[in-house]
């Protein structure tokens, strides 16, 4: 893989399309990055979970990546040396999608209370997705020990439910269309677990990169703001480009991307107060041991001038 020369930004994402950053992997989108090639080079690659991304950044193997609440908190309190530089999307926004937890159409599990003793599908523990479960369990007075988590890739969840590998599974926007249309039982959504919208996914960068490649990150920030605008303005074109590039069915992407079935993505600027509240919540849930001042580990300086 390699080049870590000053001009190259190595960028990791996890879920295609859902993470706006993943779209940077598409050559046609890269064409919209005006500074690319002059002020910086980009190497985009995919990991199977956000903790992998954090560890890759910690080990100096990547410069930037997309992480979710739980892994962001873990990144700061664990390996450290990472700073959030943009929001990717929010979960549980009243007008938008929130993670949906389904069981089979004829399942006995219809309410969160029924989850006691159940096996739950999750892409990886240590992710914000995992935190959604934990939050709901906490709301109804259960804990992680009352359920079994089964780690598997999102695309296998429908089949996993049908084969009885798990009793309920969580679906992000990209994959929620299928169980919804097949009439699976909705056990709960993150709207039920959280009081309101909270910032869920972030772009983080290693402090090393921010120090050594600040010009590159600076230039990238400028490009990123404009490419997000471009994506919103050319929604249909982006949908087919993404379907092509990631080899996903176009109707699947079309069915959610930038619709009400999608997350709230209108604000890429980091809302420090909301972020602080989210992190404190994770501490309350027992996911992290201690809280921290997000001001020290998040900044808008790379994007705010270009908004």
């Amino acid at each position: 893989t390699g080049g870590s020369d000053t001009g190259t930004l190595r960028f990791n994402f996890v879920v295609p399309v859902e993470n706006l950053g993943s779209l940077l992997d598409i050559p046609d989108i890269q064409d919209q990055l005006d500074n690319l090639g002059d002020a910086y080079e980009l190497e985009v690659s995919r990991n199977s979970s956000t903790p992998d991304t954090v560890n890759a950044i910690a080990a100096g193997e990547a410069d930037m990546g997309l992480v979710t609440t739980e892994s962001y908190g873990g990144a700061v309190t664990g390996p450290g040396g990472m700073t959030a530089i943009a929001t990717d999307f929010w979960d549980a926004h009243p007008d938008h999608f929130g993670f949906e937890i389904y069981s089979l159409p004829d399942s006995d599990i219809t309410d969160p209370e029924d989850l006691e003793g159940a096996t739950l599908g999750v892409n990886a523990t240590g992710t914000g997705i995992h935190a959604v479960y934990v939050k709901m369990l906490d709301e109804i007075g259960l804990s992680e020990d009352d359920v079994d988590f089964q780690e598997q890739g999102f695309p296998t969840f429908v089949e996993g439910l049908q084969d009885g590998i798990f009793d309920a599974a969580i679906f992000p926007a990209l994959f929620a269309g299928e169980p919804r249309s097949q009439g699976f039982t909705e056990v709960f959504t993150s709207h039920d677990a959280f009081d309101g919208a909270y910032p869920f996914a972030f772009t983080i960068a290693s402090d090393r990169a921010l120090e050594n490649k600040s010009d590159a990150v600076e230039a990238w920030g400028e490009d990123y703001v404009s490419v997000v605008d471009y994506i919103f303005e050319n929604r249909d074109e982006v949908v087919s480009l993404a379907a092509d590039h990631f080899e996903l069915p176009e109707e699947m992407i079309d069915g959610f991307f930038l619709t009400e079935n999608d997350y709230y993505r209108d604000q890429i600027e980091i809302d420090m107060d909301a972020l602080q509240a989210t992190m404190d919540e994770l501490v309350d849930l027992g996911i992290h041991d201690e809280s921290f001042d997000v001001q020290e580990y998040a900044t808008n300086e790379y994007i705010e001038d270009h908004l």
Partner: protein
Amino acid sequence: MGIAESATVDRDDLVELGKGLVSLVVVLAAWEAAAQMELVRPYFLPALSEVLLRFVELTLDGTMIEHGYLTIRRAIIGLVIACTLGIVVGVLSARSRVMAWFWDPIIEVGYPVPVIALIPVFLFWFGTGDQPIIALVTVGCFWPVALNARNATRDVDENLIWSARMMGTSDRQLLRKVVIPAAAPGIISGIQIALPISLIITFVYEMVAGTSGLGYLEIRGVRSFDSVQVYAALIAIMILGFVFDRGLRVLRARLLAWT
């Protein structure tokens, strides 16, 4: 004396052991010192004392024991099934032309397959839990056991078989009274090759898709950025591997006292 191979201990060995221990202690002390002085980031290398403390904690609260038990159970059951099948197939294909005709090409083709790559397949077929892990361990360990059993049986000195026949051993008794004992060293070597494979498959399965076991405990540490747990789980894994390995060596020495 080969590394880690001596069965008996004398004074010289103890002196050597002492010297080895000194170097080990020096390195462990250096580890602790480096961590205390924060020469390395604690996330990469937490202090030894912290790791040991966590190991003790997790052992006392039963976590280690519970997960360790699951790992051991999966590896051992799989290994035992693989050994049974492998020895039967291996011995029979060395002694019977039909079995050889059938199994030789299959062993030839099956042996080099990195069975570990079947983890996603098994995951998809059977999900997680004990059975798929045991099944995959069985598949992975079958080949070396069968191959070694076959070769060892094939290489049994013909004169031994003839000796037994002339003393009145019937064809039916031959297997039990001569072939198996004579092939035992080779068969046990096959089991010794299979042992680490059984552990690797178990750990990797637990890491890729587990909900329990030492491999899960370890990868959980990585996913939750708790490097102390990673090291603590590794200590348990080391102990486990060491005990398994030693156990098999002792068993071998017992069974093959005559070699």
